[in-house]
Amino acid sequence: MLLIKLAGIILVVISSGFYGFYHIQKIKFHISDLQQISDALEILNSEIKFGTTPLTEATKNICRRSKFFVKELFFKINKLLGDKKICASEIWQQSINNIHANSNKNFLDRDDILLINLFASVITSPDPDLQIKCLNKIETGLQKKILILEKQYQHEKKLYYNLGFLFGLLVITIFI
């Protein structure tokens, strides 16, 4: 009986501790996702600014150089551009919104999606300066968000680690 109680105590402490760890790691994953999308947009920016590479080629290049959900995102954009069935702004919006729908694969939130979707309004503008400025704005926005999240991570890291463990102890104390 004591052995079962002991196993239960350990299980509760580990799982609550792990929850605290996961909660804080979510911020880390969010930062990583934002960094990945920011890097991809930076490549797109360079492709437009220096290479004047057509979107179909540019998205293919980004797809080749990215990982995980960003690779999937630009693969989808590239495929839809190739299909030529809907306009480019719809393709961009549809694909970006789809990331949010597949939230099990990434940690981006609604605000990030709204920010990235800004590019949809200028995607087929004949003035490249407008596109470059818009991409710069999005990248700056993403970097600001990364900074905020990093601060939050540093600030809450100890709190959530301890909070998870202490919550486990609380549960044990109540039940004992």
Partner: protein
């Protein structure tokens, strides 16, 4: 929609397709105009009554523009500045809309309100009858000659008003001469000769042609002279003093020139500064005038002394 409405035979004869915002779509053939019937019951049949035609919306124009530019108008900045884009097949798409001006120059065109598809038609062998007039009479046939092929070619200018076939004849001349052994550099400022799309010529200009696409004529002639060691330089629609100076330079270097210019008759072109300079230096050995009433046919040919030779 167009694919449904047009048979292959009909499509072959199309010269232009015009899309104008809130106006009916117009499909032009050599001597007639059609539109796509707006009535759904007619299954998009063609109509000669243009006012019954399908009305082009802003969305139609925007989507057409996106497709023409492959969703990437920024990749066609220089072309858009000049008011046209060349698409696969060498067809030219003219654009009109709201111009954005920077430093007194067109930066770009936005809010596209008119799109004009000019369907490219390469007519092979249309210049066959001209060859004998632009080669030296001592040579019986270019292919039989043991001499350097280009040395038999005379500096030639083809002159006519717009839409009389100058460019089509020049394009075919280039193809014939190139296939007979002459190395030709083509300065294709407006992508009309080669119809290059993404660097790939869409028209057949023969086996020995180097195309400098989208390059200003005067600059292009000098660049080609230095870099491609051409025997002949071909250029469409000369007109500026810079063009004339470049032609003087290249002819002094022993390179032959074949070009076109706008004009009606000898008297008229004598008043054009650039051509006057070239005439005074007797650069051109053949002046070929095309008939404005009969597209692609020769009206008169003059030699370097402006004596009629045909």
């Amino acid at each position: 929609m167009l694919k449904k409405a047009l048979s292959d035979e009909f499509f072959k004869n199309i010269t232009e397709i015009r899309l104008r915002i809130t106006r009916p779509i117009i499909i032009k053939q050599q001597k007639s105009e059609f539109s796509i019937n707006n009535n759904d019951n007619n299954n998009n049949a063609l109509t000669k009554n243009i006012s019954d035609g399908y009305i082009v919306s802003k969305r139609d124009l925007d989507e057409t523009f996106e497709l023409i530019t492959n969703y990437s108008p920024y990749a066609f900045q220089n072309e858009i500045k000049n008011g046209f884009i060349t698409v696969t097949g060498g067809h030219r798409v003219g654009l009109c809309g709201e111009t954005v001006i920077q430093d007194n120059k067109i930066k770009t065109i936005k809010n596209i309100c008119s799109i004009n598809f000019r369907v490219a038609h390469q007519i092979k062998n249309c210049a066959q009858s001209i060859i004998k007039f632009i080669t030296k009479p001592v040579v019986s046939g270019l292919l039989d000659s043991d001499k350097k092929k280009s040395s038999n070619i005379l500096n030639t200018i083809i002159i006519s008003p717009p839409n009389c076939g100058k460019t089509t004849i020049l394009r075919d001349l280039i193809r014939i001469l190139s296939d007979t052994g002459c190395t030709i550099s083509v300065i294709d400022e407006r992508s009309e000769l080669g119809g290059c799309y993404m660097g790939v010529p869409q028209n057949d200009l023969g086996m020995r042609v180097d195309i400098l696409d989208g390059c200003p004529k005067a600059l292009g002639m000098m660049t080609a002279l230095r870099s491609m060691s051409p025997e002949i330089i071909a250029v469409d629609e000369i007109g500026s003093i810079d063009d004339a100076l470049a032609i003087l330079n290249i002819s002094a270097c022993g390179v032959k020139i074949i070009c076109t210019a706008h004009g009606n008759d000898l008297e008229q072109i004598k008043n054009r500064d650039a051509i006057k300079v070239l005439m005074s230096k007797k650069i051109f050995e053949r002046y070929i005038f095309l008939d404005e009433n009969n597209i692609g046919t020769i009206k008169n040919i003059y030699d370097y002394n402006l004596q009629k030779c045909c």
